[in-house]
Symmetry: D2
Subunit: 368 residues, 4 copies
């Protein structure tokens, strides 16, 4: 009953097979092999236009290098206050841009409020050197609160960015989960809605370690090969990232994996909503359920072997917890089994839980 994170899961079998095939042969290093090139071309197909794509090892690197590629001195990046780049990357964006600043913008359910975004940008008067200068807007799709921006919401935010000619980055660590939730095309969810550069994540959805930085205008990627190499993110055996993506993107595997994860979360959501013992913090739209449980229920579930994180109470007034309640995050994935979900739900329903060895509990705010 592992609901800790989708990156606690292993690797989808088809993806492991692709790695195994590649393991047994030679291939050019540093992204120059045939499979690297083929998968790069595949991204252009997937996104219905010529894109420049760079394989990377981590989503943090993708985010930081995306923003480094639009860097400005004194640059400010506008993103949600609770976004991964703010909360969980140890200042990676600041470091790899040499000092850009993240401006956390508020908004309900993990989504940037467009009016607050405009107001935050407006605090930077054009040419007023003391403040620094706006350099980008960064959205997270799906968001850190498990919600998904609609196409209209994305377009509203990118339009606000365009008012000041700011490029828009999308952190797509859970891109596939959002995509199948919206049931739209990759193009619609990105460049057709005003997104310029994308962190395309595979790791959380069944890959071993496969992330890509995607530029929808290849001209924006002029420095990206050097940015990637200089950051220690050009893998000599890059073709093993390519091989993962090859299988991931073949015959819609990536969408199928995401649909399974989302369906498991939907089952949790539906049942939790029906229980008196739980309520949802935010709408569940992808593969994450944020639930408010009684502390003793949470403890009991953990004793039964469930693994999940307590989640930090959000800073604003959005959600109020009673003293005896916990906000917990339940993440599903391609690897989640339906019977684990049912067992979790049954445990929560039951007044009495079996004694068990204590499962690992990590208190407090832990994110991934």
């Amino acid at each position: 009953m592992i609901f800790a994170s989708d990156n606690w899961a292993g690797v989808a079998p088809a993806i492991l097979n692709a790695i195994a095939r590649e393991a047994d042969r030679y291939g050019n290093a540093y992204g120059e092999s045939p499979i690297d090139k083929a998968v790069e071309a595949r991204f252009s197909e997937i996104f219905e236009r010529e894109v420049a794509v760079f394989f990377l090892g981590t989503g943090s690197a993708a985010n930081a290098l995306a923003l480094a590629s639009v860097n400005k001195p004194g640059g400010a990046v506008f993103c949600h206050r609770d976004s991964h780049i703010v909360e969980d990357e140890c200042g990676g964006v600041e470091y790899l841009t040499g000092g850009a600043r993240l401006i956390g913008v508020d908004g309900a359910a993990g989504k940037i409020d467009p009016k607050r975004l405009r107001a935050a940008i407006a605090r930077f008067a054009p040419g007023f050197v003391h403040s620094g200068q706006p350099m980008a807007v960064s959205l997270t799709q799906m968001s850190e609160a498990g919600t998904v921006y609609s196409l209209e919401e994305i377009r509203t935010l990118t339009a606000v960015a365009r008012e000041r000619e700011l490029p828009v980055h999308m952190d797509g660590a859970r891109f596939a989960n959002a995509l199948v939730a919206l049931n739209v095309s990759p193009a619609e969810m990105t460049w057709k809605s005003g997104v310029d550069v994308l962190s395309f994540g595979g790791t959380k959805n069944g890959c071993m370690g496969a992330e890509a930085l995607v530029f929808f205008d290849p001209a924006m990627a002029r420095d990206a090969p050097f940015l990637r190499k200089r950051a220690g993110q050009l893998f000599s055996k890059s073709r093993f990232i390519a091989a993962q993506f090859d299988a991931y993107l073949k015959d819609g595997l990536w969408l199928e994996l995401a649909r399974h994860g989302n369906a498991m979360a939907e089952r949790l959501r539906a049942e939790l909503t029906a229980m008196a013992a739980a309520r949802l913090a935010w709408p569940t739209q992808g593969n994450e359920v944020f639930a408010v449980l009684r502390e003793d229920d949470a403890a009991r579930l953990r004793q039964s072997g469930a693994v999940f994180y307590d989640w930090a109470e959000p800073q604003g007034a959005e959600l109020k917890l009673h003293d005896t309640e916990s906000l917990v995050r339940l993440v599903t994935s391609f690897a989640t089994r339906a019977d684990d979900v049912e067992r979790f739900l049954a445990d929560l329903r039951s007044a009495e839980a079996p004694e068990s060895l204590s499962a690992p509990v990590r208190p407090g705010r832990v994110r991934d």
Copy 2:
């Protein structure tokens, strides 16, 4: 007949199996899983003392973060003029240290000359702020010229570093190849000889992508967890790096893989030395042979399907080539088959080679 680089090879079967085992189960993310912890402990056994170890995705990252962990403002790192950090990492050390400078020191056959090292350091008068300040010495074992420092040579250089209290970094991208060449213990080749921090490479010797940053004094590693995370080098599925190392370090597999690579190079070396048509640029001590061939021979071998790089003529007076000669690098690995070696040698010996489709030839200096 791939002699392009050891990172063109695939993955050793036992290592692939370890990945496959891990793929089928859950595990804590971000380096917290049992296998991560077990393999960290294994490094302490291998090195016969408590070490602090950090798994990373690339050797460039390991080198840069090793030096970032001993960073100083205006800091100068002394290394061989032709070292990988100087020639092949796109300024990664400079970037990830926020501006350290690499001082290329000369020395025959890819090894730093101790007198020149002392002289280079001496140009930085203590406290003379205009020059900046020495911050580290970095050795490459085995070197970029395919040679191996003896223990005595390492100790001589680390003693020079100690005169100015400089920490010593070892770039061990081909650590195992050097180790079996010297037939000494990992401890002897590192901390017992004055090395403080090591980039321990697995990727070139049969792993898919597994590098480790090893501190022999854990106190030096205080900031390393943050350095790793901030650089986008803390992998969520870090346990797949750990799994690779688990298999790699089990039952001496790593040494066995390296011995095979070295033996293949030794076979090349021995035969090339005996031919009129070739001579060695530098002694072959590990898994790299640097040979001077006639240009037409090199072209003919490539037509027969051999893949190898031309190598840049070194900057000093060390090696002089005739106009009709090429310096080429032949790299062997765990995956090199003896019959490919024999075929290569036979092709070189034969006056006439079969016509074939042109194999990919990348002219000029290419390193990895």
Copy 3:
């Protein structure tokens, strides 16, 4: 009637004389002249302990290098939300630290609220690598709202910092104004109250351009000479900064200059408080008056030749303005003449103002 900023003023005559004396002779460059050394020693007298002091050209450089000297990877600096380093230095701290993050903490009247500070620091769990790590607390004395922390308030904040072993920086751009407001010793307002490193400003209080970075524990300054030089802040004719400080610190000139500035502000404050046409946004404690005026009054004063800035409405709920009101900042200095103050007050009192050519008006938020 210039109330725009204290850095719009010129140079106090005694300080200009000191420059002139120095102009006519030779002296060692780069901070090695006798006057540099003498003034460095003078700082130790002023602060009643041995300090390490570094002359610099700007307060922004002092702040950034102060924080660079306590830098950590993923480091977070806690400061007031409206502090100069957040609002007015174009990301200089982030840049010169290579990516530290500023965490803006709230608090009334420009002063950090100790409880909020503790809560902000507490969000960084020790060793939790994803968040980064706390690295310093930075106070501004006097604050950007024209208020002055009492010794007790400083001690409360530095005690909070000590709970997590964080060094404390004080941005003392208006150090002298705060000091005479409190009527305490420099030692009491700094190290005796838990401050570790100080940006000591002279420029706003009658110098031409003289700032100093002061470490109360010289051991903390080990890298500071290199940090200063590397940042382009070691002036070849550094002795002209030293000469300014020499005169500034002689016979209490600096305190006298600050007292005059404060007295002029006190006169403004007292009269504005008594008028129906104005109210104070925050208490006036030094040489800055933040007043809420009617927009038409502000316009009229400007037509009469008064120069002052509109000030951005603070972000919190602290201060509410009517649609027809402006928040303005009136800054006095050593150069403010009493009759300019009286003329300004008279103009504000009068119902009708003389027509005049339009004086320069810079709308919106402008700080210094």
Copy 4:
């Protein structure tokens, strides 16, 4: 008899007067005052085209920000091996560019050899990501060896840079000395000869602290206002830098000051050349004389009160010293008095020198 450096001199009287005038009045801060704007316009006149100019406090800052304004990831800057940015700025360029690398190119008498420059650039194959990428060429006029590039030499080097579309920076810390040595116009020595961005130094030639960063194509300066501010180089009382330049550039004062310095050096050169006891290391073309003296003569001169630096023996084979010889640098300036020159020469000629108190001697390589 101060020949230590031109930055040991004070301030020319007309420049001090300009400061004094400004001291007695108010003026807008941060470069917005009328005199700032007027002097900016004056630079366009001086250079015979519209330039973008930024006042700064130090030459190191000017050099670093010039190169930061043409920054590229993995960027390499080609400059003379002994240039100030390599030898004497504590890694400031590397720091403020976030990791650019300086490639020291050899060349006689402090001047870059064009063939070596082309060869050094050629080592960076276009698009070969491992090496990084060329980003600029930086010339020093006059050079660190006291020599002056002819217009033809400048044009040859800038043409080499143009072959790879590299912008050209000129470090003009001693711009005026070079200019009067060549007797050409500022435009001819810069943009008409292919220079794109200039560090224009006033400090060494009679200013107190006045440096300017000049872009000959204002479009290149788009980010420069933010670069300057972010680096802590936008002075609140910037008008005092402007005032220095105002006097400096008025009625040819700057050229007159430089001519005096050069004439004093020419006198030294002419007499030293005629003596058996001395020889020149390099041609004297501006205000610096590099002389080889007998060590005992150098010691004796210092005992007589002469102050000058020993200079590091250059790294190449250019100049060989006997064991009993010293390479010394004698720098003249606007402040050098003819009778000090004559006394120095007389002392050197005389076999016996008067006993005196030992004057400060700083051994070894010290530069400025």
